[in-house]
């Protein structure tokens, strides 16, 4: 006797997935197809004159040295933001996991920054580091260092990385804390009895058991650094000085919404989409192999 439940409805399964499919179609496939179509057009801002230009927009972009440089800037920015946000969050989560008294208060405080809008986070950091009136810049001046991210590209990059990572740490923290909580005490205690110190326990036991969380967060953080950070760049540096913090997504925003050049902007978002798809595929193919569920 077959015990499996067999559903004889032909339509019901489709109806059940229909809402999700509809949302994906309307909010992902439709805009993406619009971007694809727009990227092969040259159009004035009002849409009065439209010309089909094949791949001219892409050709012009890839011939632009500033645009190619933007790839390097994006790589540095994304890797730095992801690395900083993950390590800082992991450090804080392991600390918070060990706290016994007032744990709830610590956790709540550490989660707070996530509620801050990217542009606001950017402005907060900008005020701290403003070369003329910023309090951190002032403190640095007292110890003999003249902070000026308006002219120094490296300092500008450091500032936007700090602002972008700071905002993401809370999100990562929540996941790490949950992941740590899921690791059985008995395993760790057993290792401790066998003579493994805290460092060794962390590397040999905690980290491997945490790897699904790490993998998930790497994917999410890379996507965050690629897509969600233009508000911070916009508020803090505007891509400057001299293009030192001009990441790809900020240029999409700038050319499309400020410059009203929809064709080039769409072409850039298509390239960006391809890059992120490629990165995600690579992560799932190669990084996931080292994950133990």
């Amino acid at each position: 006797m077959d015990k499996r439940a067999v559903f004889h409805h032909r339509v019901l399964p489709y109806l059940l997935v229909a809402p999700q499919i509809a949302i994906t179609l309307v909010f992902f496939f439709w805009p993406a197809s619009q971007a694809l179509w727009q990227s092969v057009l040259v159009e004035d801002a009002f849409g009065l004159k439209t010309e089909f230009v094949w791949l001219d927009n892409f050709r012009a972009l890839l011939a632009d040295p500033e645009y190619r440089r933007s790839f390097g800037v994006t790589a540095v920015f994304s890797v730095s933001v992801t690395a900083l946000a993950l390590t800082a969050a992991l450090l804080l989560a392991t600390m918070a996991d060990r706290v016994i008294r007032g744990a709830g208060a610590y956790r709540t405080l550490l989660i707070w920054p996530y509620a801050v809008a990217p542009a606001v986070a950017g402005v907060l950091w900008l005020f701290l580091f403003n070369p003329t009136v910023g309090i951190v810049a002032f403190a640095l001046r007292q110890v003999g260092y003249r902070w000026n991210h308006l002219l120094d590209g490296g300092e500008a990059m450091l500032l936007v990385v700090l602002a972008a990572a700071w905002k993401q740490i809370s999100y990562n923290f929540v996941f790490f804390l949950a992941g740590l909580g899921a690791i059985g005490r008995s395993v760790i205690e057993a290792a401790a009895i066998d003579g493994a110190g805290p460092g060794r326990r962390f590397v040999r036991i905690v980290l491997p058991l945490l790897s699904p969380t790490v993998f998930f967060l790497v994917v999410v953080n890379v996507v965050y650094a690629f897509f969600d950070t233009f508000g911070i760049i916009h508020a803090v540096t505007g891509g400057g000085p001299a293009g030192a913090t001009q990441i790809l997504v900020f240029k999409v925003f700038k050319d499309g919404f400020l410059g009203l050049d929809l064709g080039r902007s769409a072409a850039q978002s298509v390239i960006l989409m391809a890059v992120v798809i490629a990165l995600t595929v690579i992560q799932f193919r190669y990084l996931e192999r080292r994950v133990h569920y």
Binding site: D44, A45, L48, E51, G239
Partner: protein, 442 residues
């Protein structure tokens, strides 16, 4: 069941009443929708203007709505036009002029609007230095200048006194700025001078002030095929001079927009080149006596100083609305341009008056005596009739071109590129943007 029906019918009745009510109001008053980008105190002033106009007559009702900053307002109006939900009037910043002008099917030129609405309109009553920016080569006004300003030199009189300089005599020329800056630094100031809006002041206005082209085809007024020219030896020398000063902090870069103002108001820099519209803000924050002088120039350039050009925004009328709404817009524009309204706006905001009558009225009211320095901007703009190099700048993709200029100038201030290299690169990159715009708007 009965209950549900009655509830729905109740809603239907209410909705019907609302529709009927709004339709009734629509018959009595024609609504004119104005989208603007004036936040804070300026936004309240715009609302007061609209309210006063609405109270002055009963036929039309102007609804002034704040839509965010300049870029957001313009992008919003364009998106609305694509969806055919656009307002009657939209405030567009000066760098958007070429985009609006090129969109012939999307806008209604002001001269046409006034003629069709039979509204009295005399182009000769306006100050050509202000309206020229928004006028065709043959003198037809396309948009109504609303808030216009021009760059001037602010200087710290207290610091001048401390350095043994005459506080009544600001430096007139760039070499004098250098000498003055040295003396200010010798007296203990960390920086001599700084500038806001570097592209607008140090290149666009620099070109007009010295009567040299910023771009060919009369800075773009003559056609979309203009090419940038701001890498001439005169431009290079000016930028090289400032770059040289950056090394000793005689000049200190403060940011792309008006972030440098704070370096002046907190007393770090003794001089600042900034828009005349920055007056109110500086007056509020500076805890020292300050003066205003004209923008400095190079004395060895023949014909300098010519006249400076404006920045700010103008009101564009959008196409596709009813004649009765356009009559309302025309009436509102006449109201805005009337001497009393203009004089009040000019004195309240620090923006330039757009008509001669408003200027005369302000002078008669004794405003310039009571607020020394506020007349400098007007004198500087009206000193000589504008030439083809000093009428304004009308280039497509100007927002991105300014970004390119900002990037390249930052490379110069940081010592990463020579002034010549940077300006050549900016011209070359800017020309590509111009060709892109030309292609999209052919």
């Amino acid at each position: 069941m009965l209950k549900r029906v009655s509830r729905w019918s109740g809603i239907a009745v209410v909705a019907g009443l609302l529709v009927a009510g709004s339709a009734g109001a629509g018959r009595a008053q024609t609504e004119v929708m104005v989208w603007h980008a004036m936040g804070g105190a300026l936004g309240e002033k715009v609302k007061a203007l609209a309210d006063a106009f609405n109270a002055s007559q009963s036929e039309y009702r102007v609804n002034a709505v704040y839509k965010g900053n300049y870029a957001e307002t313009m992008t919003g109006a364009i998106a609305a036009f694509r969806a055919r939900q656009h307002p009657h009037v939209v405030q567009v910043f000066e760098v958007g002029t070429a985009t609006m002008m090129a969109a012939r099917g999307a806008i209604k030129p002001v001269y046409e609007l006034m003629a069709e609405a039979r509204e009295p309109f005399d182009p000769g009553a306006y100050l050509p230095a202000v309206t020229g920016y928004y006028t065709t080569a043959d003198g037809k006004m396309l948009s109504l200048p609303f808030n216009s300003s021009t760059p001037v030199l602010y200087y710290n009189k207290d610091a001048f006194r401390k350095a043994g300089l005459d506080p009544a005599r600001p430096p007139r020329t760039w070499p004098e700025v250098g000498q003055t800056g040295q003396k200010l630094q010798a007296a203990g100031l960390p920086c001599g001078f700084t500038t806001d809006w570097q592209s607008w002041i140090q290149l666009e206005n620099f070109s007009a002030w010295h009567n040299v082209p910023f771009a060919t085809r009369a800075n773009g007024f003559g056609g979309l095929d203009a090419e940038l020219r701001f890498n001439s030896p005169r431009h290079v020398r000016h930028i090289a001079q400032i770059a040289d000063w950056q090394k000793t902090k005689l000049f200190d870069y403060g940011g792309r927009r008006n972030e440098a103002t704070v370096k002046f108001t907190n007393g770090d820099c003794g001089m600042l080149t900034e828009s005349s519209a920055g007056y109110a803000g500086i007056k509020r924050t500076a805890r020292f006596e300050f003066g205003i002088g004209p923008l400095p120039y190079w004395p060895d350039v023949p014909g300098a100083p010519q006249n400076t050009i404006i920045g700010g925004a103008s009101l564009w009328v959008m196409a596709g609305h009813s004649p009765s709404a356009y009559r309302g817009v025309a009436r509102f524009f006449s109201y805005l341009a009337s001497p009393e309204v203009q004089a009040d706006w000019h004195q309240f905001t620090g923006y330039l008056p757009i008509t001669r009558a408003a200027y005369e009225l302000t002078r008669k009211q004794g405003f310039y005596e009571k607020n020394p320095g506020t007349e400098v901007a007007i004198l500087q703009m009206t000193g000589k009739p504008p030439t083809e190099h000093s009428k304004g700048v009308r280039l497509g993709n100007m927002v991105q071109i300014r970004d390119v200029i900002d990037e390249e100038l930052e490379a110069v201030w940081a010592g990463k590129k020579s002034p010549r290299e940077a300006l050549d690169a900016a011209v070359q990159r800017g020309n590509e943007l111009l060709r892109q715009f030309e292609r999209a708007n052919r």
